[in-house]
């Protein structure tokens, strides 16, 4: 269970990333966060594994306030939270297998990992996870030889190898074309259901959000402006989140959203 209690985050330059967030996410939920560019979606997600540090409030993960974590306890926290990125963040020049096994680094001694000595079970796990996302035949390919969709699948395999309790995904399909996007979302959904892993995903596209989410959280300017089951989302919700209808006919004076 993840709980945000009056959580705020102000970036060093004064930008308010999160404003007083109160949210509870239950185990096994598939939550999609939507919102315009700059709404704070990434900040929200990255707070959970402390890639950014909220400046105020409490963030409870598995009963502990993670804002106090650092060093060892922070690494322990991160071990149980897997993360998937928009730009895959694979080491392009390393093989697929090496990328996937790097999900096990948190469980492996420094020296052993430097000499690539992973236990057999870990190798097995990595390979099984590659099979799970159907890409086991690319085992020894270099990551940069793969297409975007394949790279994202490798990064899912990497996260699975970490055996996380929570998966965070920051716009995992923004760089992919629609059919491939759906494929990736389906893998995520399948894993969420099969392994009961809490999954929190940022998405730009509301239609995709409605299709896969159990629950949708809408953000605007650092605040949560909508929170409810995907089934209850309406055209109106959309307007609320984006702050205006998108079909507006006033073409002049369009403000910039980036």
């Amino acid at each position: 269970m993840i709980e945000f209690k009056n959580l705020s985050l102000v970036y060093p330059n004064g930008n308010e990333g999160l404003k007083n967030i109160n949210i509870k996410i239950n185990e096994g939920e598939f939550v999609v966060i939507v919102g315009l560019s700059g709404a704070g979606k990434s900040t929200f997600i990255r707070s959970i594994n402390r890639l950014v540090t909220p400046t105020d409030g409490e963030l409870i993960v598995d009963g502990e306030d993670i804002l106090t974590h650092n060093g060892k306890s922070l690494r322990a926290l991160r071990k149980k939270i897997g993360m998937i990125f928009q730009s895959y963040n694979l080491v392009k020049r390393s093989t697929v297998l090496k990328n996937v096994i790097s999900g096990r680094l948190g469980y492996t001694g420094t020296l052993k990992s430097i000499f690539n000595m992973f236990p057999k079970e870990d190798m097995q796990l990595a390979y099984d996870n590659l099979k799970r996302v159907n890409i086991e035949d690319k085992l020894y390919s270099r990551a940069d030889e793969l297409s975007g969709g394949q790279q994202q699948r490798v990064s899912i395999a990497r996260v699975l190898t970490q055996k996380p309790k929570v998966i965070l995904a920051d716009e995992p399909v923004a760089s992919l074309d629609p059919p491939t996007s759906h494929q990736v979302m389906k893998y995520l959904k399948q894993i969420n259901k099969e392994d009961n892993i809490t999954t929190i995903v940022n998405l730009h596209f509301i239609d995709m959000a409605m299709e896969y989410a159990d629950r949708i959280i809408g953000m605007r300017a650092g605040e949560v402006v909508y929170d409810g089951p995907a089934s209850e989302v309406t055209e109106k919700t959309f307007e609320e989140i984006y702050g205006r209808t998108i079909r507006e006919e006033d073409m002049r004076g369009g403000e910039d959203n980036e």
Partner: protein
């Protein structure tokens, strides 16, 4: 509406700066051109033509009978350059990490690193060579040391630029999965920088083959002695031959290293 572009935003200090720099540049050139001491009469004299007549034919009629001696020295030169560049490549790595602002967040340490590299680069190779000849005697090892120290400055700077340009997102991804600093180094940073490191080291090796041709002057080994002797004795056919050997050797190295670099990236 009659045409009128909105006025260009005038940034007075910037414009003033630009004018001042232009004037400074102009002054610099005027100073240079008026004070440089070129004897044009000599340059376009019959002497030059006579020299062309005497030197150029010899130069392009290389002294093939010297091939043996020159080759031996050339191989020595290559060995010196190789040993020296390899040592430099090793020494440069920690210094480069020290200088890279995305690795060491402490500004002071960065600056210290930069100063070390800068100081090393300021020393002319010939002075390094003298110091090392005095230290270890007049032999190729002195040349190796001069090359090693001389190359560390440039390699360290290039390496640190490579490190600064890596994809930090990957580091973030590894951090997010609970890896520690050493693991991040080996799984996230090394695979990204190693090919560039190697390729710069090879590039430096090529430069060093040429640079070590100077070292012979002080007895630190290599082909430099031959160049000086050939010049002092005005044996242009030997200079031609030495140049031919250097061109061939460097071209071969260039081909091999090009091949290796293509496979690396």
């Amino acid at each position: 509406m009659s045409f009128k572009l909105p006025p260009k935003p005038k940034n007075r200090p910037a414009v003033a700066k630009r004018v001042i720099s232009l004037l400074a540049l102009l002054a610099l050139y005027i100073w240079t051109i008026t004070s440089v001491n070129i004897d044009w009469g000599r340059v376009f004299s019959e002497r030059t033509l006579e020299n062309f007549d005497r030197i150029i034919p010899q130069f392009f009629d290389p002294a093939f009978e010297e091939t043996g001696t020159i080759l031996v020295k050339m191989i020595e030169t290559i060995f010196i350059a190789y040993t020296g560049s390899l040592a430099a490549a090793v020494i440069a790595v920690p210094l480069a990490f020290l200088c890279a602002t995305n690795m060491v967040k402490n500004k002071w340490l960065n600056t210290i690193g930069m100063w070390i590299l800068g100081a090393v680069r300021a020393f002319p190779e010939i002075i390094l060579a003298i110091i090392f000849v005095a230290a270890v005697g007049p032999n190729p090892f002195a040349g190796v040391l001069a090359i090693a120290i001389g190359s560390t400055g440039m390699l360290g700077k290039l390496f640190s630029e490579v490190i600064e340009s890596i994809d930090m997102n990957i580091i973030e991804a590894l951090e997010a999965s609970g890896a520690n600093k050493m693991q991040i180094l080996f799984y996230g940073i090394m695979p990204q920088v190693l090919p560039e490191f190697l390729s710069y080291a090879i590039y430096r090796f090529e430069i060093d083959v040429r640079a070590s041709s100077v070292l012979g002057i002080v007895g630190a080994g290599g082909i430099g002695t031959l160049i000086t002797f050939a010049y002092l004795n005005r044996n242009w056919d030997e200079v031609g031959m030495i140049l031919l050997v250097i061109i061939i050797a460097v071209t071969i190295i260039d081909q091999i290293s090009g091949f290796i670099r293509r496979r690396l990236v």
